[in-house]
Amino acid sequence: MDPFRLHRRTFVQQAGLSLGAMAFGTLAARAAAAAQKPGLPALPHHAAKARRVIFLTQSGGPSQIELFDHKPGLTKFAGTELPESVRRGQRLTTMTSNQRQLIKPGATQFERCGKSGATIGEWLPRLRKIADDLCFIKSMHTDQINHAPAMTQFLTGNQIPGRPSIGAWASYGLGSENKDLPDYLVLLSRMQRPSDQPLYDHYWGSGFLPSSHQGVKLRSAKDPVLYLRDPEGLPRGLRREMLDGLAELNRGTLERTGDPEVATRIRQYEMAFRMQASVPELTDLSDEPDEVFELYGPDSRRPGSYAANCILARRLIERGVRFVQLFHPDWDHHSRLTSWCTARCRDTDQPSAALVTDLKRRGLLDDTLVVWGGEFGRGVAGQGKWDSPEAGRDHHPRCFTMWMAGGGVKAGHTHGSTDDFSYNVATDPVHVRDLHATVLHLLGVDHERLTYRHQGLDFRLTGVEPAKVVKGLLG
């Protein structure tokens, strides 16, 4: 049978099936929808440990010194100049390059947590409780010191805008397990005051990859996906009939021309129609029991909050979405570090920990990789008067901390370390490229072999510089 000559009834049945299955929930729907949009035939290159990713992007550069990288020895250097032997010409942004680099010790108390003894600062009490599920990387480093280039590199492998982001690569290589939703979804926190850091579309763009792989932003708005809502005065039944008419006419064009683009167009209208059902069903949290909201914290009842987005992330994972990326802005604490950083920790600590716990109890953590981190860290020197409550820290690319959980990483483990000033990596450096190589590896992808030819060159996420899978992180 000519696959393009679908009988009208078949179309309707297919749509009906998927909607019905969605109502049932998750695993059955996934099975029914499997192989809808296959990835590349050569993939996976090896058995995958993780099938899906949740990337909890903390935009602005969280301070590793307050949160994870405990340096008790700093107190005795408080207020003294950072030795040049440590600084070694590190460039600073123009915000502090004219200022003396006076050491500001960490503002938090630390505790060794769980059996693993991970060091976690006091502003993250909930994370402390799940320390044994987490794998910390203390030795992350990057090349960029300003937000936009650093975040662009952090997500696309290159500081120049326009390359595909890691989620787009995953979608391109691995395809989808759900035919009612895009492969790559992006959730931005809605802040309660105007946010400091812009977030750009290219952070989740598909670059030169086909645009079907770009991240689709789920907004906390009447339209969670742009233009999702029918115009006023159009009951859904009418919409279905109109689409049937449209599909019938398009099928006529297909028969006349044989152009496969027409067949794709017909399928995309069907997908759009299904998204009109699947997305509102997805974003409507009213079927979540109270105990879930309690787990994720009070903010989870506020639509668009980081906590609500964490619940959404779990729902997306349950529906087989390949790559979910959250963005929480305003970690850029140049001043009033204690008040601002604690506020960001309050936004994110409980929901992040709850997400890991929730995935674990539902049996989803084993093959879901959770990644937490920002584009760079913060420097040991105080910005402003180091001992004033007004003081903050400038950007710092040479070391920062991230954590991962589930999806084949070593739980209860800390990888790499920094020097006594949390300034330089001391052991086991992990470049952003290595992180990318490792995430792809966990997804069953060899980062050197997932390439795309563009303007005559074979591009890959990890670029041309050497990049390695960090074996020490694998469980």
Binding site: M95, S212, E241
Partner: protein
């Protein structure tokens, strides 16, 4: 060079050619598999062996010409030892048997090299003049493949294709009828001429060029704030409409400020040099951005004129092409004289005024001068008053700290200046002292000379307000001091150990000698469009071909280098390139030649056999259907519905946009306010181009963000496109206007449906099609009759009011029928 066959070259089963051709057969294999380690990039070269130059390869005894058995290269291909075998396993590259056989046969035939095809000057193959030349070369290629050219498209299709390709707008049914009924032999050629003369031709051509030069309304980095550039966009439209020769078009953009016969028009064109990404981020470092801007410009020139992926050479010598880091930074050095801040806000730009505006502005400036004079002539009348005031006056004491804070306050500044003067004896005061004192007095006595002073303020205000209303645009001006350009090791701007370089053209391309002087931007511009440069004409014709056939002759229009594609029909590309230069870079002439060809006029439908023989239609036995570009999807819907405001040029416009789409933009936070009135229904190319948050309806249809030069748009087919066409208020409004117009036609439902069908597609529906559309209409009518409230709601979308006298049920039902038509695949496709 013989005509080439993509299929023969690509197929592993194809027989070996009698004579192996280096560029066609060998270079692609070496470039793909060997040059990465044995190519131009010295830093990455293994075993000091390079295979891209014959002498260097011979010096290392890579092969012995004529003797396959003695050639190391041949032995390595099948070496048993994995350490010996080439390409090595970790490269993930592998040669098939045919590729190996080609390399061996090439060695046996003497291992001759030829320069990369695009670096050799194009030579015009023997072919008839005009469009016949195109057909001669296309048909020669078809013959070699054993393909026969397909039939000409029907007249309706031709009219629709020409309108969409040349104007980006659909024809009206009446225009199509006139063409269909025109039996004269030159009907087609006359239609072409009419369209080339339309002001919308320039708009259509501009869309492609604006992608290439990365034109946008905002700066791109960080805050992505606005800047003044839209007059450059209008300059581009004007240039295409006036058919400015492409060489002049180039000169004005790269060096309009240096042209002896430049003038304001050329200066506006020089805005090209200012279109790059800039930053206003606090904390950004000047040198960082100096470097970014240099590399941005080199990449843009490389993509727009040279078809070279220069970007690689920012950090290392190019791995496939001969462009070196020195070439890269030397090319950047041409722009080291562009006057601009490294970081921070750009200037407002030059005024783009009409002669009338100039005259009015001069008038207003004269009025200011006159009012000032009148005021000054009244000053002597104050002398006595000032003297008596001075006697009783004691200057207020200002503590030092406050004085510092008040330095910006003009009155405080004046007080500080006046204090020492007041202590001087009157006869010791200079004229300037007296002026300060008078001004101070005036600042304390608002009643003094009130009328005269007000007159100055009023005159100044009207002058300033009028000046503010005149458009401004960023242009290039030459800086007094040229920036120093260094080769930056690994592209690292903090490493200042690299050699300082002067402006120079890429070493591997033919070029003039600049005796006794350093070349400048004008030299660069002149070289770009000189006969010596083998690339610009090819690059431009390659892109032009893509506009009319969907795919370029060499399929990556941004890369005519080693990793680009050797065009399957190189003689055709070269013929076009030389014809273009011979014809004084006359672009309309080349458009005319291409669209009058039989190749362009063929039907786009393909038989299964044709599809099988040439799946990507590279040999052009037929035309290729493709989806309209983003802007034209919009233009088409507005035109069909009758809403389009066809005005050419002007400030960018803001159509409806989903609420809070800009909520993540910052510094400052901005609210998007959509335009009212006619600005709401302007063509897509006038839509405000916000680089980091491009209008979502354009983005869904693959309009590029224009952060980088874009020489080719992707053509995706994604569900978001369905959502835009169905639900974006622009399209809902268009459907309603279209539906209202249809329902107002004479006759019964079928007559009206036919009318609408012809508006959208310029053809009659067949019986099945009409039946399907009729069913949509009658079903909707019945449904809304049962639920008239829904009908009223539907009619409230958008700014255009629904016609008052119409029946809401009727209008809502017709809106749906119109919506179906606007969403058809055929409607958004040019075939």
């Amino acid at each position: 060079m013989p005509l080439l066959s993509l299929f023969l070259a690509a197929s592993t089963a194809a027989p070996l050619p009698d004579k192996v051709d280096f560029n066609r057969d060998v270079r692609p294999i070496l470039s793909e598999n060997c040059f990465y380690c044995h190519g131009p990039d010295a830093s990455h070269r293994k075993a000091k062996l390079r295979l891209d130059l014959r002498d260097a390869a011979l010096a290392k005894e890579a092969f012995v010409p004529g003797k396959v058995e003695e050639s190391e290269l041949s032995l390595r291909l099948d070496a048993e030892d994995p350490e010996e075998r080439m390409p090595p396993a970790d490269s993930h590259k592998k040669l098939d048997d045919r590729q190996k056989a080609i390399l061996r046969k090439w060695i046996a035939q003497g291992a001759e090299y030829r320069q990369h095809w695009s670096y050799e000057p194009p030579v015009k193959p023997d072919a008839p003049a005009g469009s016949e030349g195109v057909d001669h070369l296309v048909e020669a290629g078809l013959k070699q493949l054993g393909l026969t050219p397909g039939p000409e498209a029907d007249r309706r299709t031709l009219a629709r294709r020409l309108h969409l390709d040349l104007l980006g707008l659909p024809p009206t049914p009446e225009e199509v009828d006139a063409f269909v009924q025109d039996a004269s032999p030159d009907a087609y050629a006359r239609l072409v001429e009419r369209l080339l003369a339309s002001p919308h031709y320039g708009e259509r051509m501009a869309v492609t060029w604006l992608d290439v030069v990365r034109f946008a309304d905002t700066i791109g980095y960080h805050s992505d704030t606005p800047r003044n550039v839209w007059p450059y966009r209008d300059w581009v439209i004007r240039s295409f409409n006036d058919n400015k020769p492409f060489d002049r078009f180039t000169l004005e953009q790269v060096a309009g400020d240096l042209l002896p016969d430049g003038g304001r028009e050329a200066l506006i064109g020089s805005g090209f040099n200012r279109l790059l990404l800039t930053t206003e981020e606090g904390g950004a470092q000047a040198k960082d951005y100096q470097q970014r801007m240099l590399t941005d410009r080199v990449r843009a020139v490389g993509a727009a004129w040279l078809g070279q992926t220069t970007g690689c050479a920012q950090c290392h010598d190019h791995k496939f092409d001969p462009i070196s880091m020195r070439d890269f930074y030397s090319l950047g050095a041409f722009f080291a004289d562009v006057h601009e801040p490294d970081i921070g806000k750009r200037e407002e730009g030059v005024l783009v005024s009409t002669p009338e505006q100039d005259a009015r502005l001069a008038e207003l400036a004269a009025a200011v001068t006159q009012a000032r004079k009148r005021l000054e002539s009244a000053y002597p009348s104050l002398t006595a008053a000032i003297q008596s005031w001075e006697k009783d006056f004691t200057a207020p004491e200002t503590p030092a700290k406050k004085a510092k804070a008040k330095r910006k306050d003009p009155d405080a500044k004046l007080a500080a200046q006046a204090a020492p003067i007041l202590k001087k004896p009157a006869d010791k005061r200079t004229a300037a002292d007296k002026a300060v004192l008078r001004n101070y007095y005036l600042s304390l006595h608002p009643e003094a000379l009130k009328a005269e002073r007000n007159a100055v303020v009023t005159a100044q205000k009207s002058h300033d307000a009028f000046r503010a209303s005149i458009p401004k645009t960023l242009v290039t001006t030459k800086a007094a001091k040229t920036r120093t350009v260094r080769i930056l090791p690994r592209g690292n701007w903090m490493d200042e150990s690299g050699e300082i370089v002067k402006a120079a053209l890429p070493h591997y391309l033919p070029q003039p000698k600049f005796e006794g002087r350093e070349p400048n931007r004008l030299d660069l511009a002149q070289w770009l469009v000189s006969r010596e440069n083998p690339l610009t004409a090819r690059v431009t014709m390659n892109r032009l071909w893509m506009q009319f056939f969907g795919t370029a002759l060499s399929k990556n229009p941004g890369d005519l280098g080693a990793q680009g594609e050797l065009p399957p029909n190189l003689p055709l590309l070269d013929w076009l390139a030389v014809e273009f230069m011979d014809g004084s870079w006359d672009l309309k002439r080349m458009v005319r030649i291409v669209v009058n060809s039989r190749a362009y006029r063929r039907a786009s439908t393909a038989t299964p056999a044709q599809r099988e023989a040439d799946p990507y239609n590279r040999a052009l036995a037929r035309q290729t259907p493709f989806r309209l570009d983003a802007e034209f999807v919009r233009d088409n819907a507005l035109a069909v519905s009758g809403l389009l405001v066809p005005k050419v040029g002007g400030p960018s416009v803001k159509p409806y946009q989903p609420e809070r789409y800009w909520e993540n933009l910052n510094f400052p936070v901005r609210e998007y306010m959509h335009d009212q009135g006619e600005a709401q229904h302007r063509r897509g190319l006038y839509v405000w181009w916000q680089r980091t948050f491009l209008h979502p309806s354009l983005l869904a249809f693959d309009a590029p963000s224009r952060e980088e030069s874009c020489t080719e748009r992707t053509r995706s087919n994604i569900p978001q496109q369905a959502l835009v066409l169905l639900n974006d208020p622009t399209y809902v409004e268009a459907a309603r206007a279209f539906g209202a117009a249809a329902s107002a036609q004479a006759g019964d439902d079928d007559a009206r449906l036919r009318w609408a069908w012809r508006r959208a597609l310029q053809r009659e529906p067949d019986a099945t099609e009409l039946g399907t559309l009729r069913k949509v209409l009658t079903d909707r009518r019945a449904a809304y009759r049962a639920d008239p409230e829904s009908a009223k709601k539907l009619l409230q979308v958008g700014l255009t009011p629904a016609p008052k006298e119409s029946d809401p049920v009727e209008l809502a039902a017709w809106t749906h029928a119109a919506r179906v038509l606007l969403n058809l695949h055929e409607t958004v496709t040019r075939d």
